[in-house]
């Protein structure tokens, strides 16, 4: 791909925020060097390019870092504006709505499923599931409003809000395997469930969503790590 300059992405295979950025880059057809990070043993590259948060994803474009996944996605959309598709809508009002719901995903949806993942008892998990139910219900409403009856939040094809939500799906699938919980239930939120299936089957979903088993393996690794940390105290 000509003209995009030197592009690197510091990531971690099961980070939904990294997956989100990979989806954006794939949508724009941009090639880049992907560098997997060990978050238990943060390397010099990560510490140098994201000294403030020391987190992934970090996009390094011509030596300059961009951090925070939604800021990175918007950056990619703006720099490669000449390549279609446009990730964000073009209308200012639709852009504001898309940004609002993307922020909602990070403020409410992400912590809600993390809560389910980290629950230490069945009782706690059930409590977290019912908190999640309210969030999922909101996203069902958001989907109806944004999609206008079309296949995706962004309309006929995948866009900003689809990848903002969709990058979390493989973790929901992992939790289903690990705990038997169904976060997006077709019986309660039919539109959202249908969208999730369509997203998984979409080109960007198939290319960028990791296997749920990889996430489950990683979850076990984190658990072991935490247990070891507690034991050594």
């Amino acid at each position: 791909m000509a003209g995009e300059g030197d592009l690197k992405l510091l990531g971690m295979v099961v980070s939904p925020f990294v997956v989100r950025v990979r989806m954006a880059l794939h949508l724009k057809g941009v090639s880049y060097e992907y560098i997997e990070q060990d978050l238990f043993n943060k390397g010099e590259l990560l510490l140098r390019y994201n000294p403030v948060h020391k987190k992934v994803p970090v996009l390094i474009h011509n030596g300059k870092p961009v951090c925070e996944s939604l800021a990175i996605v918007q950056y990619v959309d703006e720099v490669w504006a000449a390549s279609s598709p446009s990730i964000l809508p073009t209308d200012p009002h639709e852009r504001a709505v898309a940004r609002f719901w993307a922020a909602y995903v990070d403020d409410k949806f992400f912590p809600a499923w993390i809560g389910i993942m980290r629950a230490e008892t069945e009782e706690e998990r059930a409590k977290k599931m019912s908190e999640m139910a309210a969030v999922v219900k909101q996203l069902e409403v958001a989907l109806a409003q944004c999609s206008n009856g079309k296949d995706f939040f962004s309309g006929d094809s995948v866009g900003y809000l689809d990848i903002a939500v969709g990058c979390n799906l493989f973790w929901l699938d992992a939790m289903r395997k690990m705990f038997g919980v169904v976060v997006i239930d077709a019986a309660r939120t039919p539109f959202f469930a249908a969208w999730a299936d369509r997203f998984r089957e979409s080109d960007v979903g198939k290319v960028a969503l990791p296997d749920a088993d990889i996430a489950a393996e990683y979850a076990k690794k984190i658990q072991a790590h935490r247990a070891a940390a507690v034991a050594s105290k």
Binding site: V52, H61, K64, V66, C67, E68, L70, A71, I72, Q74, Y75, E78, V79, P92, H93, R95, A96, V97, R99, F100, A103, Y104, Q138, Q145
Partner: protein
């Protein structure tokens, strides 16, 4: 004939201020509807059912836009006038990054520290806030405002800090930040609050002090309750 613009807000809110200053810089006439947040109107609850907070922007018949920084971006994109966000995509990404940093890593811990009863918990938040304020201050080197020579998006994002450093310090009687600490941020706060357009939509200091003094007990109750759940 321009479509009417209404802004639902509340007195003294830095979040509402962001939307107001953006509208004024773009030269967009608007009607400000002030809410009593202890008695939320049907209008507010209808237009922001999810967060039930201000500001909320109503532009003609379009569905409401919520979240102050998103409102600023919308105003920048929907109306003609001087740009509020940087033009260059990299600078825009930086502005969005630092705005998020200010919200989550500076304003939030400071707010907690100002109102917490527990001295030990307060110390933790003060330490966090100050470490982050130092990082933020480095963004002001060689610049009058975060956005450059004139105020912009990142200055609006930081406006709550101006409130924290001045008015709220007086209201709580807590000087969490020493007079000699963060000289660049203090200078920025003075420059920001005296900028012409900003000043026109900022209430006089005495009114802000009186307003927050009146709310002090209520805020303390809410913050201390929140801290217990953290």
């Amino acid at each position: 004939m321009a479509e009417p613009v209404k802004l639902i807000g509340t007195f003294g809110s830095p979040f509402v201020h962001r939307a107001e200053v953006a509208l004024r810089l773009k030269g967009v006439p608007y009607e400000l509807i002030l809410e009593d947040l202890t008695n939320k109107s049907e209008l507010l609850l209808r237009h922001n059912p999810i967060h039930k907070s201000v500001p909320v922007l109503l532009h003609g018949d379009r569905p409401a836009i919520c979240e102050s920084l998103l409102i600023v971006e919308y105003i920048d994109e929907a109306f003609d006038g001087p740009p509020l966000l940087p033009i260059d995509p990299y600078d825009r990404a930086m502005a969005r990054f630092w705005a998020q940093f200010i919200e989550q890593k500076c304003a939030k811990p400071f707010w907690m520290a100002l109102w917490l009863n527990d001295g030990d918990k307060r110390e933790v938040f003060v330490k966090e806030a100050k470490e982050n304020m130092a990082l933020l201050e480095s963004r002001l080197h060689g610049k009058r405002f975060f956005a450059g020579d004139t105020v912009g998006y990142l200055d609006f994002a930081a406006c709550g800090l101006a409130l924290v450093l001045g008015v709220l310090a007086e209201v709580t009687g807590l000087s969490l930040v020493g007079e000699d600490e963060f000289p660049l941020l203090r200078r920025w706060a003075d420059d920001y609050t005296s900028e012409e357009t900003v000043k026109a939509c900022l209430p006089p200091r005495e009114q802000l002090v009186a307003h927050f003094s009146g709310k002090k007990d209520r805020i303390k109750l809410a913050v201390n309750a929140m801290a217990c759940q953290m």
